[in-house]
Each structure stands twice: as structure tokens, then as C-alpha cells.
Point group: C2
Chain length 419, copies 2
């Protein structure tokens, strides 16, 4: 450990209290400064990245790192431009903090207000994509949260350089509190972080399902995210063949390793074009697996499990049993079947005649995506800035006491005030 | 164990899927049937309660149960009437399920809808108040959740009788699914329940802080509630003496064992009427404790800790360090101080010139209260029916695929649709 973790966590908590009262203007100014500083220090960041890439290349040659991880690690001009644009995009989003969610006069002169506020301290753990660090830092700043970041060890030089450029920009933003962004580097630090439920309010893992599962099993802090992405498409009796073909091929091949790719296709026994459909899937390079052992599998490549079901009800039952609760789609021309499917399937996204790949914060128009959650509390599905907020209740009064209401001397009248 | 717990949990999960599609009419009909059946079976319930009271009396005599627990256990005509009225009140609340929270056209013919839906299976653990069982069952039904209930062992006969009366009513409600309400009885069952994060989505403990702490430390399932209730009042330099007196006396004496009672009073060093204030608190029968060791204490009786602070900032810092995050109040005639206090204190309720005892779902006008949460995610403060819901996203399309958008053939236009 480079530093006792509790000190970092306490410092982040203290910083989070200062963040809670920051103006939108100051937060946006800080974000613009970060974007500018990254632009001005591109060459240093590329240089740090090339050091990481050199080490990673050796690992790839030894077979200790796969090619796709290497590619995710690599920063190029395009990724750098996207990183900078991503920060600017967050500047233009509405401030999620200080929104009045409810205003209610409880009685004369006694006004209740529910206002959105930051969660506090976020613990964010991500794998080999160094561009996550700017995105996550920008989201934390915009939502007035402090953050403790742990990046992948393969990108340590890039992460350190980007963080130093970001911190530089914040130091030069007058009035911006210290210690809002904190970085940790070791697995031991992560283990410590997962124990700090007194100081850390939410953990967001951004990475593969092994990482997410490990974190979920090793902390009492709420975790926002998803481990598996076992998405289903159900081809109903009355499905249109072309729609079924196009949607399944898009859902499987457009980006096979994405969490919202389809893994299992269920086909109604009375669907008349089963053979045509499977032939066209094979033509699209998709391998079809026909065994019950496959229903738990997230392939992440151009393979899918296929199963014939007797009815819509059987399809719903299969999905509610085997799905990871991420995203499912029904292909049908029957509106009633679509309605039953949408109401009965217990997943964060339930679609009709649409590719599962639409499950994404940007496609939903959230302007930013914190991650995709399969949780049943707090935030579900693609999570935007709002998922990094909670609310508090304030009451303004003039000496009001409960005794008067308990004894019937006064009565609540509960009149909502328009805001 | 009377039955393997996993079987109960799975059964509840299955029932929860059926609950998710129930109509408001059927849920309300079930609630009305429950209210009527309790009315018709009052004498059996009183009889079961008197058996519990007989056993409890022996425990009180032996010193193994305190008097207030005995009183909470006792059902009388008033409590029975309140129980029945409580169910009827929940009938009249708006259905929290199926509310459209967002409707957005992503592109022509591609419509995203965010709809409120039930969480799934709730695990509810409560102590010796048998009237909780009807309230919790009614809230679960109205919010389309299945529930597993564990009541206090002292009220086992009353709980079993009430549950049998409720189940009878549900069996006679045509179309109402089986196994929505499930009861467990032993500590071993509770231990099992806390492990079932696959089937149980939210745990709600209703009881003292020992119970809540034990549960929070022994489960990975989200827990809605609060352990401690260490509430503060800060008497600012410019506080009005009468308001300070009345509010502190109300906050401490109106119901000293309530979680929203004040435990620590902070007084600004320049407040001119400190002596008058402390004298009037003593006259109201409040014992004043002046030691740093007391700042962590929840008295639950007519005692409070008193501390002089140098400034508003010091008061905020003390509160953010020692508070349980429940409810705090500032007494001041200075609007700026009030604003800073409300924005800087990180608690679920932050008040100005108001008793802390207002922190309550009924007083807030929620119509029902699930509990009070000090969590920083999902639900905070007094939680109404909405806290038992989450949402899902559905998309209706007509063969839409992501490839068209990724390749720039089509663009999202993200137009919100009024609902």
C-alpha cells in the first residue's frame, strides 16, 4: 500500500461534503479546465501510454494478455479526441444536483422540500481502458461526488499521467476542493476499499464479470453494475421472418462481446420458418448450440444457444429462470403477446421487435452512461448521471412542534406546491 | 426449521412474478377482503393475543421482557381498529406500479418507456408489534411484491392467527396468486433468509438498532432502514429563545424512544440565552449530559448531550461526524445560516426551526410508511410505497437494429413524449 487506505477514504469523505455545496458554474469550469489540460498535455499522455503498451506487448507475446485487452489499452488520436469531447458533453448536461423533486406545504408555514443531492464517495474499479478515468472523473465532478479510482495494472502509467493532468487542472480551478479525486493502485488497496462501508457509499465496477462477481461477493457497500449479460430473444409464433433474422443477427454480430448481445434464442414450436431462420443465422457466421447445458452461457462471440418452446408462457418462464436480468426482446406481430412479454419478463430492458443492442445510456438519450445495472434497487438498466444522486428532505418552519399535531390542536393539510 | 428455506424463497419468487401483472382492482379487492376478514375474526385474534400475553407476563415477572415490549405486544380495540383502518388507507392510495416515468421517441417508430414495477421479494423482520404484520402485508400487496415475514417470537400466536386470517381472505379473492405472503418463525430461518440473495431482493428490518445492525452485518441483500437515530439540534447565535425551548422540548420529550428524537444539542458560543435555555430544559424533566463520550449515544429517554460550538461550520462538522444521518434541525433567525446548514449537513432530513419529530412518512403526507432509511442509495428518509418499487425500460420498435445507427444510416432524435 502506498498510503494507509483509511486516510484516503476519510479524505475523500471530507472532500465529498465540500463537493455537495459546489455551484454548477464552478463544476463546469473545472470540467472545461480538465478538457483543456488534457488537450495541452496530449504528448505526455501518449508517451506514458506507449510505456504501458511496450510492457503489454511483452505480456501479449508471452500469452499473458489477450489481443483485445491490448487494443483497449491503446490510446490513439481518435480515442483522445473522444475523451476530450466526452468531458465537454458532460459540461452541457443539466446539473443533477439541487433539483427540487417535491415541494409540499404540510401546514401553514411548514414546507417540506425533497432535493436531489450527491451520494458521497464512489469507489470505481475499472480494467484496462484508460479512457474510463476521464469519463468517470467528469461524471463524479458533475454529480458532486468524491471518488476513489482503481484502474487496471496494465495501464498504470497512462492512468497516473491522466490523473496528474486532471489534478493539475483542478488545482488551477479557484475554489475547487482538494482530494475529490483519489487514485489507488494495488489489489490490497481494493480489498481495503471494499471494507470501508463507513466512508464509501457506492462501488461501481467497470469490467468483465469475474471482476464484478468478485466485488459483489466481497463487500457490504452497494454495488452498481452487472456481472453477466445473458440476453434472450424470443421468436413468437407470429414473428415476421425478416425482422427475426435482422434483429437476431444484429443482436449477435454487431458487437459480440458486448453485455447486451443476445446469447439464447427461444423459438415458438409453431413458428413456421424455423429452418429458414437458422439457415440465415448460420450464413451470418453464427454457430448454433442446442444443449440445455448452454442456457447459462454468455458466449461473447458469434455463438448462440437455441431452444424450441411450447408457448409464450414457457418462453417467459425460461427467461425469468436463466436470464441475468439485463435485456430481452420478443419478435412478434401479435401486440397482445408483446404486452404479456413486456409485463411478465423481469429484466431491466424488455423489448418488442428491436435488437437487444439498444440497451445503452447514449442510445436512451441519457447523454452519459455510468454503467448498466441489473440491480432491483436504486438504479436499473443503463444508468445516467441521475444514478449518482440521492435526495434529502428539508423542512422550513417557524417553531413548529409535533405535540400540537399529536394533540389535535393543529392538522396537516399536505398541499403540493408546483415547482 | 419447519420447512427448507430455499423452497419458501423460490416459491415467493415465483409468486412475485405473478404479482407483477396484477391489476389495481384485484389488489384493492384483496385488501378490502383482508380488512373485512380481520373485522370478522377479531375475537380469534384477541384470543391468540391473550395466549401470547400470558406467556409474556411470565417473562416480564422473571425480568426477561421489559414492560414497553409487553405493551407493544398487546392488541386492544383501538389497535385493532387502527389495523383495519390502516389497510383501508392503503386501498385508497394510488397504485405505485405501472406508472410511466419517462416516454421518449428515440427515432421514428422506436419508443422507449420507463415504467415503475415491483422489486420482487421482500424479507421483512419485525419485533414484538403484531400490528406490523397487517401493515406490511398490505404494503407488499399494493406494491405487487411477494414477502417473507419473520415476527417476534413473543407474538407468535397472534402473528400466526392474523396471517391465517389474511391468507383466508386472499384464498377467497378470485385470481389472487398463491404464496405471496410467507411466514417464517425461527432464528435459523432468518439466518437462511439473509443468505438468499438469489431470491430475496430487499430486506426491511423493523425494530431496535441491535436487530438492524445484526442484519446489515450478515447479508449481501440490500437492507432498507436505519440502525441508530442520533439526531441533533443546533441552536445558532441568532436563535429565538422560545423557538429553541419549544422545539428541543418537543424533539426530546414528545416520544423519547422514537428514532427521530433529539439526542445532542449544539449551542453556538455567542448565543446569549444559554442559561435560560438549559434551565427550561431541566424544568421539562430533561437530564443534560456534558461529556465527549456522550456524543455517540442514543438515549431513548429524557436525556440529552449538550456541547458548545464555536461556529455554524463547527456544528456542521460535528453533525457530519457523529450523526447517524437521520434528522437534524437548526434553530436560527438567520436565513443564510439556515441555508448553509441545510445544504452542508449530510442527513436524510435537515430542518430549520422545526422539531426533529416531523421525520415521519405520515407527517410528510406519504399515506403509508415502510420505514425510515439512512441509506445513501435507493430510498432515504421516510419511505412510502414508492420505496418498494423499481422500474424497467421497454422499447417498442418495428425491426430496428443497432447497425443502422452505428453505420450512420439512421440517427437518434430523442424526443420526449408527454404522458
Amino acid at each position: 500500500m502506498e498510503e494507509d487506505f483509511t486516510i484516503i477514504a476519510k479524505r475523500a469523505k471530507t472532500a465529498s461534503k465540500k463537493m455537495a455545496v459546489l455551484s454548477t458554474e464552478l463544476k463546469n469550469k473545472a470540467l472545461i479546465n480538465i478538457a483543456q489540460n488534457i488537450l495541452q498535455n496530449q504528448s505526455e499522455i501518449f508517451e506514458a501510454n506507449s510505456r504501458d503498451l511496450n510492457e503489454a506487448k511483452t505480456l501479449v507475446e508471452k500469452g499473458e494478455l489477450n489481443r483485445s485487452a491490448y487494443n483497449r489499452l491503446k490510446l490513439d488520436e481518435n480515442k483522445m479526441r473522444d475523451m476530450i469531447q466526452g468531458i465537454k458533453d458532460i459540461v452541457s448536461l443539466d446539473d443533477p444536483i439541487g433539483r427540487i423533486l417535491l415541494k409540499r406545504e404540510l401546514d401553514a408555514g411548514l414546507v417540506l422540500t425533497k432535493t436531489s443531492c450527491p451520494i458521497g464517495v464512489l469507489g470505481i474499479i475499472f480494467e484496462a481502458r484508460p479512457d474510463v478515468i476521464t469519463q468517470v472523473s467528469a461524471l463524479a465532478i458533475k454529480s458532486s461526488n468524491a471518488v476513489i479510482l482503481k484502474g487496471g495494472k496494465e495501464s498504470i502509467n497512462t492512468n497516473k499521467m491522466i490523473m496528474s493532468v486532471i489534478k493539475d487542472a483542478l488545482d488551477n480551478t479557484e475554489g475547487f476542493p482538494k482530494d475529490v479525486l483519489n487514485q489507488i493502485f494495488t489489489r490490497e488497496d481494493v480489498a481495503e476499499m471494499l471494507k470501508q462501508d463507513k466512508y464509501i457509499d457506492l462501488i461501481i465496477p467497470r469490467g468483465g464479470n469475474k471482476l464484478v462477481k468478485f466485488i459483489k461477493e466481497n463487500t457490504k457497500i452497494p454495488v452498481l453494475g452487472h456481472a453477466d449479460g445473458i440476453c434472450h430473444i424470443f421468436v413468437d409464433e407470429s414473428a415476421d421472418l425478416d425482422k427475426a433474422k435482422n434483429i437476431i443477427i444484429d443482436s449477435k454480430t454487431q458487437y459480440p462481446s458486448a453485455c447486451n448481445s443476445v446469447e439464447t434464442v427461444l423459438i415458438h414450436k409453431d413458428f413456421k420458418f424455423k429452418n429458414e431462420l437458422t439457415e440465415s443465422l448460420k450464413d451470418a457466421g453464427i454457430e448454433i448450440i442446442l444443449s440445455p447445458e448452454s442456457w447459462h452461457i454468455e458466449y461473447g462471440e458469434k455463438k448462440l444457444s437455441l431452444k424450441t418452446v411450447n408457448s409464450l408462457e414457457d418462453a417467459v418462464e425460461h427467461i425469468n429462470e436463466y436470464s441475468s436480468g439485463h435485456t430481452e426482446s420478443i419478435i412478434t406481430e401479435n401486440e397482445d403477446s408483446a404486452k404479456i412479454f413486456i409485463n411478465s419478463v423481469d429484466s431491466s430492458g424488455v423489448y418488442h421487435n428491436v435488437s437487444t443492442r439498444f440497451a445503452d445510456g447514449f442510445r436512451y438519450g441519457f447523454g452519459a452512461e455510468v454503467g448498466i445495472s441489473t440491480n432491483k434497487t436504486h438504479a436499473r438498466g443503463p444508468v445516467g448521471l441521475e444514478g449518482l444522486t440521492i435526495y434529502k428532505y428539508s423542512i422550513e418552519g417557524n417553531g413548529h412542534i409535533v405535540k400540537d399535531y399529536a394533540e389535535g390542536k393543529k392538522q396537516f393539510h399536505h398541499k403540493d406546491i408546483k415547482v
